[in-house]
Symmetry: C2
Subunit: 354 residues, 2 copies
């Protein structure tokens, strides 16, 4: 539902106004002020006169008019879901990178929100009405069928996408290795009974962490105990509840020696549940997170976790998107359709020698 309703107040000065004042055509002003690749050559003194007139009138080019002819708004969109109206830390870090990247390239960024990813296609259609030049999909969970032909007239880039989308480069990190490294660290510290609080079933990222967990166990000759592998939503609340329930249902001597959580927020909930039963971290049980978001540094004890370079990924997403928009993509990117960033173990205090 559009809401056309004019802004009040006096008209802003236009190119013509400046031209009038400087005694030249609007076109000349355009050429001087927004000096494009045109072959126009205007004498230094006229240029000076034009600039002076523009300054005096406080002329600002109207971006909508320029966009209309250039078909370019110089603004990119970000699409995210606001689950439970909370922006999470993952988003905070990524967004930070996107903002920084956009600033570098003189682009603005506008934020589009979704309640669920099922609305994505519709929202995309609406967003691509000339107000943005491209979109960054943040951790989308899309149905294959929705993505058909999506990228055709809508330049997109995705971060941690759940599906491959034709024509859309996806940025991800080596989560399998991150998980493998973390669980291997736990093993090296003498833990053998290692629990994994995993992300939702079916999500690519969650599955990758699970497989890293399994591989590390296998490599250490530890048999997988299915009762120590729990899938749930990526939230501290879910982790807290699952962990509390587990503690009620199991005898104290069944307690795992270490718990690897699929993200930092979950680790938080896990620690809280443990604490509420009088179980200390890391004295009684080691706990690790994933992502290295803000919380990891401020918990007590500080979380041992796996860092994904989320901010850098945000920066890179912008620059890839811009290439896509301008139509000069790197061939390598076009082929692979996916770029993976390294993960890195961040050792703090929550995982200790057994």
């Amino acid at each position: 539902m559009p809401q056309p309703s004019k802004r009040k107040g006096k008209r802003a000065p236009t190119l013509a106004d400046v031209g009038l004042k400087a005694g030249v055509s609007a076109m000349a002003v355009s050429a001087v002020l927004n000096g494009s690749n045109s072959s126009v050559r205007i004498s230094e003194e006229t240029q000076e006169r034009i600039r002076k007139a523009a300054a005096e009138l406080r002329y600002r080019p109207n971006i909508a008019a320029r966009a209309l002819v250039n078909r370019r708004m110089n603004t990119i969109g970000t699409l995210i879901v606001l689950d439970g109206l909370e922006l999470n830390h993952y988003f905070l870090e990524v967004f930070n990178g996107i903002i920084a990247g956009a600033a570098q390239h003189n682009q603005n960024v506008t934020v589009f929100t979704l309640r669920t990813w099922s609305e994505a296609r519709e929202q995309l259609e609406r967003a691509f009405d000339g107000r943005i030049d491209g979109m960054i999909l943040i951790a989308p969970i899309l149905e294959e069928e929705f993505t058909n032909g999506m990228s055709a007239d809508m330049p997109c880039v995705s971060l941690h996408s759940n599906v491959g989308i034709e024509g859309v480069v996806n940025l991800e990190s080596d989560e399998e290795k991150g998980a493998y490294d973390m669980v291997s660290l736990m093993v090296a510290k003498g833990h053998r009974r290692i629990m994994h609080l995993a992300g939702p079933k079916g999500l690519l990222g969650a599955e990758r962490r699970i497989s890293g967990y399994k591989r590390a166990l296998a490599d250490a000759g530890i048999e997988l105990d299915e009762t120590l592998l729990k899938s749930m939503a990526y939230s501290d609340e879910h982790a807290r509840n699952v962990m509390k329930k587990w503690l009620q249902e199991n005898p104290r001597d069944a307690l795992p020696e270490a718990i690897f959580c699929a993200n930092d927020q979950m680790a938080l909930g896990c620690v809280e549940a443990l604490l509420s039963e009088g179980i200390r971290v890391p004295e009684d049980v080691s706990v690790a997170g994933f992502d290295d978001t803000l919380v990891a540094r401020v918990t007590v004890p500080p979380l041992t976790t796996v860092r994904q370079p989320l901010r850098e990924m945000g920066v890179e997403a912008v620059s890839l998107l811009l290439k896509r928009i301008e139509g000069n993509e790197d061939d390598s990117v076009g082929k692979t359709n996916s770029i993976v960033f390294p993960t890195e173990l961040v050792v703090r205090k929550s995982v200790v020698e057994r």
Copy 2:
């Protein structure tokens, strides 16, 4: 520096294209699809035909063209400073509210960032080039002279502004009372030697918390000890350093019984400094924060703090701004120029009976 460069690909369908297909004029299509207040009446069946044609062509109105004639983009801007490239928790909560408010009113929000507030005026000039209809200034620190005539052709609303800006409504919360309540709580719990880690000198919000602190002390008949009042930047790092230094310079028996920090992040740094010297919170000393941001819930112990309704304030900022843009402001708002939200004590575990 503009970057005009055409987007590739085929032209999107226009009103004329739809009209052609439906056998009517572009104007008729416009009237049906974007049904404004025009007196146009079109027969039901023609309408149907038009809608069908639009759907088949996947017509989407071009927002830049519409904006050009309407002088309205239906997007609002937010202006913030990215200090040290970190978006903080304060921003996260406020931004969340802004997003939600904008969604309610069918507006988009675009984010403009500054390195320092001294760039604000210039950035505002650039932002108001037709791409946004209004701006929300988030915690601006402006010089009086910069604000002259600012609001004339740039509808703005501010949150926690440091100065009154003519024509700009400022949303704030009753920080003086919040601080007063917190310090009074400490007094009620038997503390008399109460330290205040304050925000930067000269900032309105910081000053208000200080005066609440002083008033509570006075009302309790406790004489102000200037050595227990320290001003610093609003960050955990500064609080940590100041507190560490204080601990080194003062004998252990000079330790305050309670410490009221000007925000949650500072409380965090304070707790860390204390902990690193073997001083336990809250057993040895009570600590309180301010803002009730995410961190307050996840520290150990959870922080007793003062809640400002940041999210609600974000929502309200949007709706006030929209009124301002549409030129139908409430008279009361125009007069007061400032709206104050209530603060609320949030009692958790970091402040205990002495």
